[in-house]
């Protein structure tokens, strides 16, 4: 049982939770995630650890409402308990000093990006962050990202905030303007795919953090398999970050859609039972 200490909505669809998890708070590093199960009937869903407070024994999670599990989680309030939280999972980000880092976050992908931005900044890099979303109200964690970046560029699809355009437009401008040594991209699979194509053109080493479907998170089921450089890898133990230029994004996108129909059914069921 893990108690919710704080909760805040960043937007109508994105909530931030501070949760009691002393052991995880102590062991986690940037790039790690947890798997949680809200209640007895819940599924196990992966969420990145956005931040942690070792002294207070808490971790911070940012979650976007997508379907049943994320809705259930977002319906919980401070004082409520989450049934199971396990972690930290995955391999930590390889944080090192290289010079200039371009950090691209799309939508809720900014949440997992934050600890990586922090890490690279603390390691003495110049960090340029690009936050992208469909519209203004979907831009999250802007202040926190600013604190750890030398420059922040905001891009919205509809131009309601920052500049109008996709993440790649902002990224290309920076690449053409100055030398970028490495790039990190986290967000929806399409966003990572096109960011990766762009940086490949300019030969910039790029890491992408994949949001593959997961069950156990310990390498036991293979639900999270992705093709990287022609080889099958398990995102939960070999990732979640991989060399973006080697990832088969098309396969990833197909696999992410695998359970869509069933999830719609589950959502329908959840919706009906919650109005009864």
């Amino acid at each position: 049982m893990n108690k919710i200490i704080e909760k805040e909505f960043f937007s109508p669809k994105v909530a931030c939770f501070v949760i009691e998890a002393p052991r995880i708070a102590r062991s986690r590093k940037p790039g790690h995630f947890v798997i949680l199960r809200v209640d007895e009937k819940g599924e196990r869903i992966p969420l990145t650890i956005t931040d942690a407070d070792e002294k207070a024994g808490t971790i911070t999670l940012v979650v976007q409402k997508m379907g049943v599990s994320s809705e259930k989680l977002c319906a919980l309030e401070p004082g409520d308990e989450i049934l199971d939280v396990v972690g930290p999972l995955g391999r930590a980000t390889d944080i090192h000093k290289v010079g200039t880092i371009l950090a691209c976050g799309g939508g809720v992908g900014v949440a997992p990006l934050l600890p990586i931005v922090q890490g690279f900044k603390k390691a003495g890099n110049r960090v340029i962050s690009i936050l992208a979303a469909r519209s203004k109200d979907l831009i999250i964690l802007e202040e926190e990202i600013r604190k750890w970046s030398d420059e922040v560029i905001i891009m919205t699809d509809d131009g309601s905030y920052g500049r109008k355009g996709l993440v790649t437009a902002g990224a290309e401008e920076v690449i053409l303007r100055e030398k970028v040594d490495e790039c990190v991209a986290i967000g929806p699979a399409v966003m990572m795919k096109f960011t990766s194509l762009l940086t490949k053109k300019y030969n910039i080493p790029t890491q992408a953090s994949l949001n593959a479907m997961m069950v156990d998170g310990t390498g036991m089921c293979g639900a999270c398999r992705v093709s990287v450089g022609g080889q099958t890898k398990f995102t939960c133990v070999d990732g979640p970050e991989f060399d973006a230029h080697q990832i088969d994004f098309n396969e990833l996108m197909l696999r992410l859609g695998g359970y869509t129909e069933l999830e719609k059914e589950a959502y329908q069921h959840y919706f009906e039972s919650s109005i009864k």
């Binding site: 052991r23 995880i24 102590r26 062991s27 199960r37 009937k41 819940g42 599924e43 196990r44 049943v68 599990s69 259930k72 049934l83 199971d84 939280v85 396990v86 972690g87 930290p88 999972l89 069950v215 156990d216 310990t218 390498g219 036991m220 089921c221 293979g222 639900a223 398999r225 992705v226 093709s227 099958t232 133990v237 396969e251 197909l254 696999r255 859609g257 695998g258 359970y259 069933l262 999830e263 059914e265 589950a266 069921h269 959840y270």
Partner: protein, 498 residues
């Protein structure tokens, strides 16, 4: 060994045993036919994911079967049991009608008799070594059924004996993983007075017994009773705790843990690495069974989804494959097929499971091997290509090697494929302990019989040492590790290390 022989002899000469032996002539005993296990009707049972197929023996059936056992001078059956259960003793207690004593006898050596009675490959172990099989060429005494009977009787009687525990010695030890190896280890160590904590990565205790083996073969409530017992004896369980991730070995040492038993299983599913294997609708048996057994995905009230295929192909011929294909049938498959590259004789699954699967209408496509998968525009598998095989010369395992028949490829329609071609050791522990000696295959190297690894305070057993093996072998390892860890810790106590 001589001690053991001596003990068996003393037990055998006890008055009650002699009396029972003299009551019925051996000739009459051997003329009796082996009992048939009452089973749920195949067409009825495939409607339920959670109803046990084998119904268990009645008191009369069990006693009649027990009469068949001749209480041999040289009980070869015991040699076939990896944990050397005193088989004639428990069987004779059943004949005599002292069922609780029969259960007690089982517990002298086995921590989970209700489980092993159900899932042991008896036909390759105790029953294979029974005098009936060996010398009389008749059906063996149904040792497994009787074991299950005694254990079930005890559980249902509500008079489970909670074993006595030695006074607490205050020494903290940890077991990693909560499968059969750890559970039997924990049971022995708590009896010796240690302060035992079992750490489990998942949210449920039981390892494969919970997430792998389905309800229709091993109901969870049977495992739960054993867990309750361990809890009553003082074993502590921490779920959602991955040793090496949630806390390191050093963290645990700093918290006072003096020794570790690693029984983290062989949880890593193998795939075949053939084209199209990552399409949707193709999953490992671990994923499929975990969704259904651990996450209750077949029940609409639970959030986790599972594909319910119409044409389901399961690749492999082991217990995992049988469990998957029979689960698929129960979830409504019209065709549920086993695709296996050898023939029925080579199948590693328990014979009873293969028989049950056949009764349930499972199609066996033996001597067939998948070579490629195809998918619809959404990336969901809709067809697979198979190649026919024939058997050639025996290979290293002694089984005849399957060889492909060139030009024999053909396609079949499938909408769900479950890959059950074996597992590899889970590398979590190895990754957390770079100094730990492991084999080429990633199994932990231990000193034979002692189960001690290259790190003195670290012992290991079960599938992480053997690769995918059996419940009873895992349990036996747990017991051996407990005995040798006890010896190791007592040495440290006498040299004042604590």
């Amino acid at each position: 060994m001589t001690d053991e022989k001596e003990y068996l002899k003393i037990e055998r000469e006890k008055e009650w045993r002699v009396e029972l032996r003299n009551k019925i002539k051996n000739k009459e005993r051997t003329d009796l036919l082996r009992v048939k296990m009452p089973e749920m009707d195949p067409m009825e049972r495939i409607k339920y994911q959670d109803r046990e197929v084998n119904q268990g023996l009645s008191v009369a059936q069990a006693q009649a079967e027990a009469v068949r056992c001749m209480d041999c001078v040289n009980p070869t059956c015991i040699e076939g049991c990896p944990v050397s259960i005193n088989i004639p003793k428990f069987v004779k207690y059943i004949e005599k009608g002292e069922f609780l004593n029969a259960a007690k006898t089982l517990k002298e050596t086995s921590a989970l008799p209700a489980v092993c009675g159900r899932v042991c490959p008896q036909e390759k172990q105790c029953e294979q070594s029974c005098f009936y099989t060996q010398k009389l060429k008749k059906d063996a005494v149904a040792i497994g059924y009787l074991e299950r009977f005694a254990a079930d009787y005890e559980r249902e009687s509500g008079q489970i004996s909670v074993p006595e525990t030695a006074p607490k010695n205050g020494i903290k030890i940890a077991a990693i993983g909560s499968g059969p190896a750890s559970l039997s280890f924990a049971g022995d160590m708590i009896k010796l007075g240690y302060d035992v904590t079992v750490f489990e990565a998942l949210h449920e205790i039981g390892g494969v017994l919970k997430y792998g083996i389905p309800e229709f073969r091993l109901p969870n409530k049977i495992v739960d009773v054993e867990l309750e017992n361990l809890k009553k004896m003082g074993v502590k369980f921490e779920t959602n705790f991955i040793v090496g991730k949630t806390a390191s070995f050093d963290d645990l040492k700093a918290e006072g843990y003096q020794a570790f038993f690693v029984a983290s299983g062989a949880g890593l599913p193998n795939f075949m690495n053939i084209p199209g294997e990552n399409f949707n609708g193709i999953l490992s048996s671990n994923e499929y069974l975990t969704r259904v057994n651990l996450m209750n995905a077949a029940d609409n009230a639970f959030d986790t989804p599972v594909f319910k295929g119409k044409n389901v192909a399961v690749i492999g011929g082991g217990n995992t494959a049988m469990d998957s294909v029979r689960t698929a049938k129960r979830l409504g498959a019209e065709r549920a097929m086993i695709v296996y590259r050898r023939s029925r004789e080579e199948m590693p699954a328990r014979i009873e499971e293969v028989k049950h699967a056949e009764e349930e209408g499972i199609e066996f496509m033996n001597l067939n091997n998948p070579i490629e998968y195809f998918a619809d525009e959404k990336g969901h598998v809709n067809r697979m290509r198979l190649q026919r095989m024939e058997l050639g010369e025996p290979d290293a395992s002694g089984r005849r090697r399957p060889v492909t028949i060139e030009g024999s490829e053909y396609d079949i329609a499938v909408d769900l494929v479950i890959v059950a071609v074996g597992v590899s050791p889970n590398p979590l522990i190895k990754n957390a302990l770079p100094d730990l000696k492991v084999s080429r295959w990633g199994t932990i190297d231990v000193e034979e019989g002692k189960m001690q690894s290259s790190i003195p305070e670290l012992f290991a057993g079960g599938d992480i040492v053997r690769g995918g093996a059996t419940v009873i072998l895992a349990m036996g390892d747990g017991r051996k590790a407990a005995a040798s860890m006890h010896e190791y810790l007592q040495q440290r106590v006498t040299s004042n290390e604590f």
